[in-house]
C-alpha cells in the first residue's frame, strides 16, 4: 500500500487546492454516499467549508477510506481513515470526495 503519485491523478493537484473541487463529477463522489463496507480513496475536497478541519484530522488525497457504520440516527458516520477510525457528520463527509478502488 505505497503512496504512488503517478497512480493517483488527484494527488498531482494538491499544489493547486482550488483545482481539487473541479474534478469531474463522474470521477468522484462524496464520502457520505459510500456504501458501508466499501473502500475508496480520497480524491479531493468539496468547497463546503470543512476542508481545513478534515485535513487537520488527517484526510488527504490518496488515503484509503471505508464507511464502517452509520450512526443511530443516520446522520453520523464512522469512517475508517487508513488505520484510524473517525466519526464525521454527513455534512462534513460531503466535503470529502472519493474515487472507488
Amino acid at each position: 500500500m505505497t503512496f504512488d503519485d503517478a497512480a493517483d491523478p488527484a494527488a498531482l493537484q494538491t499544489e493547486q487546492p482550488e483545482a481539487s473541487s473541479s474534478l469531474t463529477p463522474a470521477a468522484s463522489a462524496p464520502l457520505s454516499a459510500l456504501a458501508p463496507g466499501a473502500t475508496a480513496r480520497v480524491a479531493g475536497f468539496a468547497a463546503n467549508g470543512f476542508e481545513a478541519s478534515l485535513r487537520e484530522i488527517g484526510f488527504a488525497e490518496g488515503d484509503e477510506v471505508e464507511v464502517m457504520r452509520r450512526g443511530p440516527y443516520g446522520d453520523v458516520i464512522a469512517v475508517r481513515l487508513e488505520r484510524a477510525l473517525v466519526a464525521v457528520r454527513r455534512a462534513e463527509a460531503d466535503g470529502v470526495l472519493v474515487v472507488s478502488g
Binding site: 457504520r69 487508513e82 466519526a87 457528520r89
Partner: protein
C-alpha cells in the same frame, strides 16, 4: 534563549520539556510512566488551562521538568484549549517556555500523525519525536523502520511503549544522548501549506513501513457491535447502569469500615475527654462532620475509576459518536458528551473539558448545563437519602436503591438536554460545530494511570474534607451550639438563620434542620451531609454519630421530605467552586448569574412538586 551553539541541556540545569501530540496519542500515559504519576496541576498565568507538571531524571541523572499540554492536531487552533497549547509551544505564555518538545505520535497512524510533527517543526524548537504504542502496532503485524522516519524527518525519532517500563527505559536512554546533542538554537522549518505537509507525511510513512497490516481486527469486531445503531446505545446504557450498581454494591464494605472507624474514634475521644465544649467540638463538630463526608470516598473513587476506564479504553469517543444524534436534537454535538460525562465526577473538569469545543455558543451551552450532571459530591447526599428511605428490595438482578440512583442520574441528564435545547433555540442559537472526532483503537487501561488518577482525586477529596468541610463543620458547630438554650439547636444562631429561611422552604417540605444545613451547604454539596451530621449530633442523643446519620434521618424525616430533598439536589447549584469556575470559563457574570438563578428556580420547583405529589400518594 542562549547564544548560538548552546546546548539545551547545559550541565546542572533542569531541562523543561513539553509533551505535545494529538488527543489519544498516549501523551498522558507517557507522562505518568516517566514521572511516576506524581504531578501538580499547573496553570498558566491569566489563561488558566489545566496542564500537569511533573519531574523525572534521565538514565544519566539529568533533571527534567515535564509539562503535559492539551492535545492538538496541528498548529491551527480550533478551540480555546488548542489555542493555549499552541501559544505555550510558541513560548508566548510566561514562565513555562519549554526548552524542547517531545512530540508523541501513534505508531498505528503514522500517515496522519506525522503531518502534525512536520507542522511543529516550523516552531524552531528542538524536538524529539516519540513513536508511541509500538507494542500495539507490532501486535497488529505492523513493522516500522524508526531510523527511516528519523532520516527523512531530520529530528531524533525514538520508539516507545509508554505503558511498559522496558518500553520507557529505551526511550530514556535515547533521550539522554539526544538532550545532550540538541541545539538550543534550531532553525525553524519553512511554513508550507497543509496539503504539501500531508504529502510529505505520507511519503515518510510509506518509506518507514516495512510491513503493512490491516486495520485492527479486534477493534473492527468490537465496533461492529458497539457502534451498532441498536445494540450500541443499549450497551452504553447497560454500562452506565452497571457503574451505578457498582457504586452501591462494591463500596458498601469499605464504607461500613470507615463509618465504624469514625464511630469508634468518636467514642474513644468522648471517653478520653471531660464532658464540655471541647468534647462537643471534637466529637459533634469535627468527627461527626468530617466522618459523615469521608465515608463516601469509596463511592467517589469507584465513580472516577469507571470514568477513567471509559476514557482510557477508547470507549468514551464511541459513546460520543452514539450520542451525537440525541445531542443534536438538544442543539449540541456528540463531543459535548465528554464534558457532560466528566460532570458525573465533578462539574469543574467537565466545564474545563468544554474548552475542546470550537463553537463558542456550543461551549457556553455545555458549561451552563454541566452542573445538572450528577457529580460525585451529590453522591453523599443521594446515597444517604436512598439508604435511609429506599428499601434494598431486589428487582430482578438489581436492587431498588441502585434503580433510584440511576433514575436520579437520568433526571440530571434529561434536564441538561432540555435546558441545552432551550438555550440553543433562543439566546444561544448559532452555527453547529463539526463533529470530526477520532475514535482511538481499543486498549486496556493501565493500572498506573488508574492509580495516578485515583490518587489525585482521593487527595483532592480528603483535602476538601480536611479543609473546607472541617472548617464549615466547626463553624456550624459553633453556630449551632451558641448561645446555649433549652431549645437545643433551635435556639442557637444557626437556628435563628434557619428560622429565617424556614418559611421559604416549608412549602417544599423542608424542615428546620434542612434549612440550617443548606446554609453551610452552599459551599459544597457534600457539606450538607456533614451539616446534618453535626445538627443531629447536637440535637440530642449522643448515639447519633455512632449509630450513623442514616438511622437518625430514617426516623426523623417523612418520606415526601426526603424525596423533595433529593429533587432539590438534582438541580441546586450548591457549590462555590463550580460557580467560580463557571465565571472563569464564561468570562461573564451575566451567564454565571443566569446559571445560578435557573438552577435555584428549577431546584425549588422540582422539590416542591416532588413533595406535594409524594404527599398525595403517601396520605
Amino acid at each position: 534563549m542562549a547564544a548560538d551553539g548552546a546546548k539545551v541541556a547545559a550541565a546542572g540545569r533542569t531541562v523543561r520539556l513539553a509533551l505535545v501530540g494529538a488527543p489519544n496519542s498516549g501523551k498522558t500515559t507517557l507522562f505518568n510512566g516517566l514521572t511516576g504519576g506524581r504531578a501538580k496541576v499547573g496553570n498558566y498565568a491569566g489563561v488558566t488551562v489545566e496542564s500537569r507538571v511533573g519531574r523525572f531524571a534521565t538514565t544519566a541523572g539529568r533533571a527534567v521538568e515535564l509539562i503535559d499540554l492539551p492535545g492538538v492536531y496541528g498548529l491551527t487552533a480550533r478551540s480555546s484549549d488548542e489555542a493555549v497549547t499552541i501559544e505555550a509551544l510558541k513560548g508566548g505564555l510566561d514562565g513555562a517556555e519549554p526548552d524542547a518538545l517531545i512530540v508523541v505520535i501513534d505508531a498505528c497512524c503514522l500517515r496522519t500523525h506525522l503531518q502534525s510533527a512536520l507542522q511543529l517543526k516550523t516552531l524552531g524548537r528542538p524536538m524529539v519525536v516519540a513513536v508511541n504504542m509500538m507494542d500495539l502496532a507490532e501486535r497488529d503485524g505492523l513493522e516500522l523502520d524508526v531510523a527511516a522516519i528519523e532520516a527523512r524527518l531530520g529530528v531524533p525519532v525514538v520508539a516507545v511503549t509508554a505503558t511498559r517500563s522496558r518500553g520507557r527505559a529505551a526511550f530514556l536512554d535515547r533521550l539522554d544522548s539526544e538532550l545532550s546533542r540538541l541545539d538550543a538554537a534550531t532553525a525553524p522549518a519553512e511554513v508550507r501549506p497543509l496539503p504539501q505537509l500531508q504529502k510529505e507525511a505520507r511519503a515518510i510513512a510509506s518509506a518507514a513501513t516495512v510491513r503493512e497490516a490491516p486495520f485492527n481486527k479486534a477493534t473492527r469486531a468490537v465496533d461492529a457491535v458497539v457502534l451498532h445503531p441498536v445494540a450500541g446505545p443499549a450497551i452504553f446504557f447497560a454500562i452506565l447502569f452497571v457503574i451505578f450498581q457498582a457504586v452501591f454494591a462494591w463500596a458498601a464494605p469499605a464504607m461500613d469500615g470507615i463509618e465504624g472507624a469514625f464511630g469508634a474514634l468518636g467514642d474513644a475521644v468522648a471517653a478520653a475527654t471531660p464532658d464540655g465544649w471541647l468534647r462537643s467540638l471534637i466529637v459533634d463538630g469535627a468527627i461527626a462532620g468530617v466522618g459523615s463526608v469521608l465515608v463516601f470516598l469509596p463511592q467517589i473513587l469507584i465513580m472516577f475509576a469507571a470514568l477513567y476506564a471509559l476514557e482510557a479504553s477508547g470507549y468514551m469517543a464511541r459513546a460520543a459518536y452514539l450520542a451525537d444524534g440525541l445531542m443534536r436534537k438538544a442543539g449540541l454535538n456528540g463531543r459535548a458528551l465528554i464534558p457532560l460525562l466528566s460532570g458525573f465526577a465533578c462539574a469543574i473538569p467537565g466545564m474545563m473539558a468544554a474548552r475542546t469545543m470550537s463553537e463558542e455558543r456550543d461551549r457556553l451551552t455545555t458549561i451552563l448545563v454541566t452542573p445538572l450532571m450528577t457529580c460525585s459530591a451529590r453522591l453523599p447526599v443521594y446515597t444517604l437519602m436512598i439508604a435511609a428511605f429506599i428499601p434494598a428490595t431486589p428487582v430482578g438482578p438489581f436492587n431498588l436503591q441502585g434503580i433510584v440512583l440511576f433514575a436520579l442520574f437520568l433526571s440530571g441528564i434529561l434536564s441538561a438536554l432540555i435546558v441545552a435545547a432551550i438555550l440553543r433555540r433562543t439566546s444561544l442559537a448559532g452555527p453547529e460545530q463539526p463533529l470530526l472526532m477520532e475514535m482511538p483503537t481499543y486498549k486496556l487501561p493501565t493500572v498506573r494511570d488508574l492509580l495516578a488518577t485515583l490518587w489525585d482525586r482521593a487527595g483532592a477529596f480528603v483535602k476538601r474534607a480536611g479543609g473546607l468541610i472541617f472548617a464549615t463543620s466547626v463553624l456550624l458547630w459553633f453556630l449551632a451550639s451558641y448561645p446555649a438554650s433549652d431549645d437545643g439547636v433551635r435556639g442557637s444562631f444557626a437556628g435563628m438563620i434557619g428560622r429565617v429561611l424556614e418559611p421559604v422552604l416549608r412549602p417544599i417540605g423542608f424542615n428546620l434542620e434542612i434549612a440550617i444545613a443548606l446554609v453551610p451547604g452552599m459551599a459544597a454539596r457534600e457539606v450538607a451531609v456533614a451539616s446534618l451530621g453535626t445538627v443531629y449530633a447536637l440535637s440530642g442523643d449522643d448515639d447519633a454519630v455512632a449509630a450513623g446519620l442514616t438511622d437518625v434521618l430514617a426516623s426523623a424525616w417523612e418520606l415526601p421530605t426526603a424525596l423533595a430533598f433529593l429533587a432539590w439536589y438534582v438541580f441546586a447549584p450548591m457549590c462555590f467552586a463550580t460557580i467560580a469556575v463557571a465565571r472563569r470559563e464564561t468570562q461573564s457574570w451575566k451567564w454565571t448569574g443566569f446559571m445560578v438563578g435557573y438552577l435555584f428556580v428549577a431546584a425549588y420547583v422540582a422539590a416542591g412538586a416532588t413533595y406535594w405529589i409524594a404527599r398525595a400518594f403517601v396520605a
